[in-house]
Symmetry: D3
């Protein structure tokens, strides 16, 4: 079986991360994975979120994420969520995933009593928007935190290690890395994996769209994803080094 763009099953699409893409945010990137393009920004708010203030959780910060797609980022135009009045289930799921994934590598106590808002806005979609959002948002978050360090608002970078994510799936019996939209639509199984720079899992979300999958297949997908994420971590590290001219945080 040949993939539509002639990739081999374990081959990722080309990835670029365009830094400082928007001028206002403390951190911002345009990440492209093939035709999937997401603007990720990190905005520092010098207050704790309301729930922390109400519960008097002193000395800690928070990282939260929001996700949206431009109406015509997709093949058919989709209605804006504001038009029907509330965030849909898919969006909720994705923005909770992004937030959890980033918080897993942030030292919230070292961040101090502030909130970092991460916004992932998909401007062009071709599969893997949620994993691209996580991989890109990490750099935006890292840049924003670096700025806090440079401004001496915090002593050291409150980030323990990298985090990145990729999708895998099973198409006609073959496990494949980094599905495009048309591949995703015909996959029997769809798995999103989020992993740290040190190679541990933050999230495994495997879903049988039609055909339940075996333990064996689960293992094959995890292997593919591990390889892919290591490549993404290396790309992140190059970007971090560029700014730091120092050794990277995670080292896969």
């Amino acid at each position: 079986m040949t993939r539509v763009d002639s990739r081999s099953p374990n081959q990722m699409r080309p990835v670029t991360i365009n830094r400082d893409y928007i001028k206002h945010p403390e951190g911002s990137v345009l990440i492209s994975i093939g035709d999937t393009k997401v603007i990720c920004t990190a905005s520092v708010d010098e207050r704790q979120p309301r729930f922390m203030r109400e519960q008097q959780m002193q000395g800690k910060g928070w990282v939260t994420a929001e996700y949206a797609m431009l109406p015509r980022s997709t093949s058919d135009r989709s209605q804006r969520e504001v038009t029907r009045g509330s965030v849909g289930g898919r969006t909720h799921e994705i923005q909770r995933l992004i937030g959890r994934s980033l918080r897993a590598v942030v030292d919230l106590r070292a961040l101090g009593e502030r909130t970092i808002w991460v916004d992932c806005d998909v401007i062009q979609a071709d599969g893997g928007t949620r994993t691209a959002s996580i991989t890109g948002a990490f750099i935006a978050l890292w840049d924003a935190c670096q700025k806090l360090v440079n401004r001496k608002m915090i002593k050291s970078l409150p980030i323990r290690e990298n985090v990145a994510a990729i999708s895998v799936g099973i198409i006609e019996g073959t496990p494949m890395l980094d599905l495009r939209y048309t591949e995703d639509a015909m996959a029997a199984v769809d798995m999103n994996i989020v992993m740290t720079g040190k190679g541990k899992f933050v999230e495994i979300q495997g879903t049988a769209e039609e055909t339940p999958f075996s333990r064996e297949e689960s293992n094959q997908m995890l292997d593919l994803a591990t390889d892919g994420i290591q490549k993404l971590i290396r790309l992140q590290n190059r970007l971090m080094v560029e700014k730091l001219n120092e050794v990277s945080l995670g080292d896969p």
Copy 2:
């Protein structure tokens, strides 16, 4: 390390499924897993859902799920979702999970142009409400489908095999089966597994709440869950046999 209720790490809480609990629905159960109690009902609607009619998907049916908690099913009273005007992210995530899990074992074509609404309402919560919902809803759904067969509205049961679910987690380094609420709150990792009667995965959702987890730990959790789910499948089979006096569908 001892569990609060003296269970061993691989021991499930007592499970009971109280059938025909509500008189109106085509299928209904009260499932209890320890102190977690969920009313699951299956309601047959002799129309396709709107999205199928609009896309002219002929000859197929649909299974959809909704999930809610009574305000005081939890230790502190929580606000009704209608009060703030829309379904929250956690609820969205859970009801999408229940729906996908059930559809994975249903032959939607054999079901015909109708919708089965599954409602899971938690009346008392002590951890594992989403997995209890799936395990209980399967019986409600099976009963509703059986009724359609008995009324000769469909020829044969449109259910391919059982589906059931359980949670596992890692607490102070030890993988444990079927977490209670207090255990869940202190778990470093939380995983929900949905499996079919034939032992294949429908969903794996593993989340590091704080500490990322290794491939080794992932495997230990999947082992624990597989054992637990086989017990649930056997309980389901006994209930199905009671009504059928026939061989069960799945055979773990």
Copy 3:
């Protein structure tokens, strides 16, 4: 004219009140009146409601009620109110009625600066859900207040007397007590009466669904209801005595 379940016009359906039905709330019952089943819980919140704080109403508490039906508590599945985004008119009417009825027998000053949230969730409906809610909620509220006394948070029970409720109606010219759903649907007049242990009215809500009713018919309905409510008060008193082993509050 014979009633569908052979009752005489002045005969109530069997009533049971199952106490401490849910483990978390300070008070909780499952009340069954025939096939109508409602879970009533009373939750103590150690703060005044917002409107009291804003108006600086010191030294007083509040009792408020919410009411909902599970989607398939009824013969046909009804949409959840959160799905359309707001509480409907019927629900609003009922929860305001329950709240007013309970407050009419509570000494809000003796309750102190706290709120008791009463939740009435119908799990199976067969007519008379609002009156069953009031009758059952009184016991949940009484139990919650008793707990406050036992914990020495208030000096004495802030409840002046019992309150209970029943429906009456006129079917084919005959006034009848405690209508089932099918009876309610064909009644020309529908009346809900809320009464205290001392036999005074808290609410009279009579509605001509089709045929306006005379003063004479109004009097016949009030007579039937008075008899029915006295039976409910006696049942409440037995439950209260069980816990107290003391003389009951109201004495009809």
Copy 4:
């Protein structure tokens, strides 16, 4: 005890009904009861309401009501309901009451497959806005139906008899007719009565705000209301006769 405006307990405030107050609607009045002023309009829509079309209820029409208050119709400015996004409980209760009251005297089959929308908008409030709305809306509805007869869209007036409403209450032990806002605020019991031209009840809604009331007190309030409503019916009849120069419908 003297009333603030020197009325005797059984004395109503001056009532005027200003017909054809707004030019567009098929029927419209400004009703004033003391300082309470409500614009009531009746709008004919040549379609059945959606629920009737969906349930294929052929050959019948419907009358529905909406109620609102201008923000500064009250002593303090109140927020518009659209601002918080949904109709509140009190508004729901009132518009349902107005709709039921009017439908009780309309022959929906004779009305034919159309909807009459009744809008009651309070421009100045001083107690009794819901009962004033019913009394005024009856004339707007009657005028709209008369127009349908004149235009030969229906054969005869689909209205069986008049309907009107008044409030009564108990203040410091004395039953009183037609409460002003300041009286209403200090009443121990508040009762709204809706009655037909032939002297039968459409609605009795008695509520103990603080002190439960006896059967005896209930009877005194119903007597006061009956007298008051007869006066309102006579006023309605004079207005109807003016247009018809014929005998009135109801004859109290």
Copy 5:
């Protein structure tokens, strides 16, 4: 070309402003321009708006406006905005325009830390409701401010000059003043002008509904509007003088 009501192109409809129309507000008028009738009220709230308090804008007040139409103020009944759950685009546009127009002539610092809520509720519509609202609201606002002066809550009137508004349009090539609804519907261009007592512009909003307009036509419309607004200012001045028996503020 003749206008439907025989007016000449530069002739306004008859205007009346009925003062103190509602008893509760600090200022209130019923303004009628031909068949367009709007109730305008000004309500004083002795607190700054939330946004000013949050931004700690000390020593200043605010004037804000809301606008609504009764459902049957128009030829066909329109749905209440609360029914669909939010304020529509047209309403938003109009209430922002009214608020800006009034604030342009108010000295917010002299007003002090309070809010004036202006409510414009259209009870009958025949074109020009937004401009009538502004012209009428000015008097309601002036009266409310005068009351603050009389009560010695502010030292002097915080209003710098009058403000009034009118619509103009181009119909079949001819610029015309003060369009009725039927004229508005067939106008190629529609312009709303808001002007102060000293003859300066607060707002110019010209819109080509179909045919773009030239600079020349723009000038003709501004000329017509200037004349019309001067007449409105003189009417306002007469009303102000009536209360003051003093020289008017603006002097066109």
Copy 6:
């Protein structure tokens, strides 16, 4: 007075229009005016909008616009509109303006029974986002229509002439073209002008933020805007010619 970026009062910021920016839509551009960047897409929907179908407006099409800002397109992060549940007043105003402006140059009958959805999403804001949206959206719309012609779905381009827009304002007494955000914030008057290729006005929206403006000042601003828009029209024409290699539509 010197402008912050050393421009002269009548000088526009650099403008670029990056065509075919997003792959899915029928037309799409990224327009940059200084630091203001807006993605404009035009999506063809082969159905009339609902309001046209309901009113049976046969043989005509429609162009509608939506506008949004990414949360961190602005200096401070702003809340997503979906979070508070509805589109705000400013957004409503802008998207109505964009829609009207585009429809003013489209022959809706020639477009046929279809809808073109124009989406303007601001990814970076520095003043003039609404006028940039109109100028950019025209090219997206033109490209989408050109595609319909190329696919032979319509016979000829249903666009009568160009449309473009610019802002002007008065800062410290001097009229200035194309305000940046910091200039806009201190302008006494703010005017947005929309003009066609033939030099006629589609919209004039002038607002005195603080100080009312004279007829003279109005004329100066219109002169500045006319010059600026002619430059934008020439840029549009070059882009159109590129694709067409033909004479442009409008000819300023």
